[in-house]
């Protein structure tokens, strides 16, 4: 009886050995393609942390081209929904103050880019910078809601033209300060923040800062 069992086991192992190489040979191209795709996606995702979104990139290009000069990147960092989602998930396991939790829950993505110009400050045409930035953002469905220029400082705030809601708010800010260009954009869900603002703060003060 034990001899029969051993024989059966050996037979089964042989059949597995026979089957698996055949399956592997057949599926190898698919498996390799999947691995390669995974690798490319991983590289793309990791480098994505250091690349600005298409809107911010377009804004950066238009500002740099219109301001002229030679620019170099100091830093560019971006976090998207995946990273913010992981942070939200991870924060569940820690005892976080409600205000901080509301802030974490609100952010759905954000990016910051800082660039330095080697040109002498003050030589850019402020009107041309605004015009180029407006044109570029308008083509992407964004409009300038605020534009301020004073001396060698320029600030522009852009928001999507389409309808916005408290659960989906996006904005993009450009600051050109002498030889420094700062681009920042964020999108998120304001509802957790508004809830906590309603509980803790005087809600009537909130819209002033949200509107502009």
């Amino acid at each position: 009886m034990p001899a029969t069992r051993t024989h059966e086991r050996l037979k089964l192992m042989n059949s597995i050995e026979d089957i698996f190489p055949a399956v592997w040979a057949r599926k190898r191209p698919i498996a390799l393609s999947a691995l390669l795709l995974g690798f490319v996606l991983a590289v793309f995702s990791i480098t994505g942390y250091f690349r600005l979104s298409s809107e911010a990139s377009a804004l950066r290009r238009s500002v740099m081209n219109s301001a002229g000069g030679e620019w170099h990147k100091k830093i560019a960092v971006r976090v998207g929904f995946f990273t913010t989602g992981l942070i939200r998930l991870g924060s569940q396991f820690f005892n976080v103050p409600p205000e901080a939790r509301a802030a974490i829950d609100s952010v759905r993505g954000g990016e910051v880019g800082i660039y330095i110009c080697r040109q002498e400050p003050g030589s850019f045409n402020r009107g041309a910078v605004f015009a180029a930035a407006d044109k570029s953002m308008k083509a992407r469905g964004w409009i300038r809601v605020v534009g301020v220029a004073q001396g060698n400082q320029l600030v522009a705030v852009y928001m999507p033209r389409k309808a916005i809601s408290t659960s989906n708010v996006s904005c993009c800010v450009m600051v050109l300060h002498e030889e420094k260009l700062i681009l920042a954009s964020a999108h998120g869900n304001l509802e957790p923040l508004l809830r906590i603002a309603g509980n803790r703060l005087n809600l009537s003060d909130v819209p002033q800062h949200l509107a502009l």
Partner: protein, 208 residues
């Protein structure tokens, strides 16, 4: 019979010619109609897209001398968003904001290069508003300050928009357009709620 025969012979040749000419005329007429329609649409388009209370100030450039330049353009999306946020706390203000479609404020600092151009634009704008049915409700000139407030009334005296032109001596020019149901005494409130300081100041000045 001979005549009949002759007619029968010529008819097949003339008919296609007549048809061809008819088609040619129709084609020409159609082309002219399409061209006229396209022209009418392009001419009418800008006027149709602008709501009755909206003023086309044109584009302003930041002073080349490095002077002050502030432009705020709050569209209906953003206004209704702000209104939704304060709906529970301040329903009256939310209602006021819901009646607005756009708030645009432009402050341009004056320097030697743009002073005459801005003054000219302000005076042209005032003339245009007067000719386009805007009613001047405030006109004040004091200490080189020149303030004009215009109101656009629609049917049943419903306010469709408000425009303010300010020349603050030789320092700055301010152009304001609020599209929607707005009364001059509410300017300061809107400036306060939307956090637009120039609007707040103008509102306070007009109230005085």
């Amino acid at each position: 019979m001979g005549i009949h025969l002759e007619r029968d012979k010529t008819a097949p040749d003339q008919k296609p010619k007549e048809n061809y000419m008819k088609r040619l005329w129709l084609l020409a007429l159609g082309t002219v109609l399409v061209a006229l329609l396209a022209f009418a649409l392009t001419v009418k388009a800008p006027a149709e897209t602008l709501p009755p209370g909206q003023v086309d100030f044109g584009t302003f450039s930041a002073p080349s001398g490095g002077g002050e330049f502030v432009e705020v353009n709050v569209t209906s999306n953003l206004i209704s968003f702000a209104a939704r946020l304060i709906q529970k706390e301040e329903p009256d203000v939310a209602e006021l904001l819901n009646g607005l479609q756009q708030v645009r404020v432009t402050v341009v600092g004056m320097d030697e290069q743009n002073r005459s151009d801005l003054k000219e634009r302000a005076s042209k704008l005032r003339k245009d508003l007067s000719t386009k049915g805007w009613e001047r409700i405030v006109e004040a000139q004091k200490d080189e300050k020149d303030v004009s407030v215009y109101l656009k009334n629609g049917k049943n005296n419903a306010v469709q928009g408000l425009a303010v032109v300010v020349l603050d001596g030789g320092r700055q020019a301010v152009f304001v357009n609020i599209v929607g149901e707005i009364r001059p005494e509410q300017i300061a409130l809107i400036g306060e709620k939307l956090h637009i300081d120039p609007l707040k100041k103008i509102g306070e000045a007009t109230e005085k």
